[in-house]
Amino acid sequence: MQEIAQLLINGVVSGTILAVPAIGLTAIYAVLRFPNFSIASHATVGAFAGYIANATLALPAPAAVLVGFGAAGLVGVASDQLALRPLRPSGALTSAIASVALMIALENLLRFGFGNDLRGFDLPIMRDWRLGGLRVGPQQLENLGMAIVSMAALFLFLSFTRTGKAMRAVADNPALADVKGIDPEQMARLASFIGMGLAGAGGVLLGLDTSIDPLTGFRAILSIFAAAVVGGLGSIPGAVVGALTVGIAEELSLIAIAPAYRTAVGFGAILIVLTVRPRGLLGERAY
């Protein structure tokens, strides 16, 4: 019983952190209407940017997350404009394929610059807290907090700013949004910046706990996609729900299967959802 409680706690923490890049993926899908596989590499870009901020400027974790967000966001806009935007007229599938190529390209740019070595963040080592037999690491909690803060910031942006509402409008009914004067390309750039920025923040959060290398983002790709698909591609609340579901499911799966198969849980979730209820838990594409 205690074991399950511990797994649940771990699952909630990892799920909340997973939500950050999952929201990024789903936001880009909502506005640009295709699954952007390069989210994995943008997470890695953010992770390396955060690492540099921490290693060379001795910035603490929250600052590293911000740097990761900014760096990945900028790379996201640039990569979309250069590599993916010209292919938009060719449809969602071509864009998806191109995004796989982009993912590999970015990953190898990082590999070219940094090599394959694992690198760790320079953070004070903190002992786990024990609450009634359950273990929680302070770094885990800090990561949890940063994930929640990021999501809250996004929520505020989308709910209360003119630009945020415009982005939701484009996701809801792109043709009508265009007619009412919302510039689709500006929104595409914004979605790329925010979406990939969140991926980058997620990359830092993933790396804070362990270490980073050019494959950091790619290892998480199935989990990120699973979270977004389970919640419903295009739905931001869905991505949060989906991420928590996948995070908890992955932790609970440790009871039955080997740790290496964690990501297979994500794949299984994707398969089940797309077969049984393709729009996911909370997704509904109205238009």
Partner: protein
């Protein structure tokens, strides 16, 4: 030098067969399979294990590889073929990753990340390595020719025409009374079988398989080969594979020109060149160099596939 060329051509042939398999399922059938490398891996492992653990001849191993990969292909197809194109991309990519994870972890079966070595090859050991390579290249060329011949026949046969009709508009085909799902599953399974056969050929050529040989990058190589050669065109698939191998080998010379590059950087450069190459082709020559002969297949297709 000759040996180097022989090796290049052998790899070109391997990618060619995979590109042909992709053409069957994507060029003719309109179904994207980003999990190519998963079926390729399955074929390689099955053939390796069959010849080592069960001691069967290589030909039997190759058949087993084909059959098992095709069976797996039908399962995957049945589970996923009602999905939209980009959803199918997600699932097939995930499938390949799961195959790789299984291969890395089921040590009792696959030897995990250490891989399986000492896989037999036809006449290996009985002749010099150079001769073996030449023999194998001949075998590969025959295999490529056989697959091209088969697929051309298939394309002209009713099966091929129905498949293309389904690719272009499967609602119309369904209304015309064709069992769309059955066709799609058969095409996907056949394609998977060909990939499995390619995997088997790979295993017996290199004598070593490990999970790391089956990266998503390989899928990009094959997609690039098909798109460059002209999606929908079987000869284009083979031509594209030759181009991709030549293209990626050029990075080897780049590393000789630019001094001071470490091995990891050369490897990264090669992958970079291939992925940027695909982006460039999708952008500037999406129809490839040899477009489909019967009717021009330009990407975008009339409907997003």
């Amino acid at each position: 030098m000759l040996d180097y060329l022989v090796s290049l051509l052998t790899y070109a042939a391997l990618y060619g067969i995979m590109a042909l398999a992709l053409n069957l399922v994507w060029g003719m059938g309109g179904m994207i399979n980003l999990g190519l490398v998963g079926f390729y891996a399955v074929g390689a492992y099955v053939s390796a294990l069959a010849t080592i653990k069960l001691g069967v001849p290589i030909a039997v191993g190759a058949c087993a590889a084909l059959v098992l990969a095709a069976a797996l292909g039908s399962v995957v197809a049945l589970a996923t073929l009602r999905l939209r194109g980009d959803y199918l991309a997600i699932v097939t990519l995930g499938f390949a990753e799961v195959v790789r994870i299984v291969a890395s972890n089921e040590i009792w079966l696959t030897n995990g990340t250490d891989g399986i070595s000492n896989i037999r090859g036809p006449l290996r050991g009985a002749v010099t390595p150079e001769t073996f390579n030449l023999i194998y290249l001949t075998l590969m060329v025959v295999a490529v020719a056989a697959v091209v011949f088969l697929l051309q026949r298939l394309a002209r046969a009713p099966f091929g025409r129905v498949l293309r009709a389904i690719r272009d508009d499967d609602q119309v085909a369904a209304v015309a009374g064709k069992p769309v799902l059955a066709f799609k599953v058969k095409a996907f399974a056949a394609s998977a079988g060909i990939l499995g056969l390619a995997g088997s050929l790979y295993a017996h050529y290199t004598s070593y398989v490990a999970p790391d040989s089956f990266q998503p990058l390989l899928t990009i190589y094959v997609v690039l080969a098909l798109v460059a050669g002209g999606r929908g065109n079987n000869y284009g698939a083979v031509l594209g594979a030759v181009l991709v191998v030549a293209f990626t080998e050029s990075t080897r010379f780049l590393s000789e020109v630019v001094p001071g590059l470490q091995a990891v950087q050369v490897a990264a450069l090669r992958q970079l060149v291939v992925s940027v190459g695909l982006l460039a082709i999708l952008r500037y020559r999406p129809g490839g160099i040899l477009p489909e002969r019967i009717r021009p297949v330009a990407i975008p297709p009339r409907r997003p596939a």
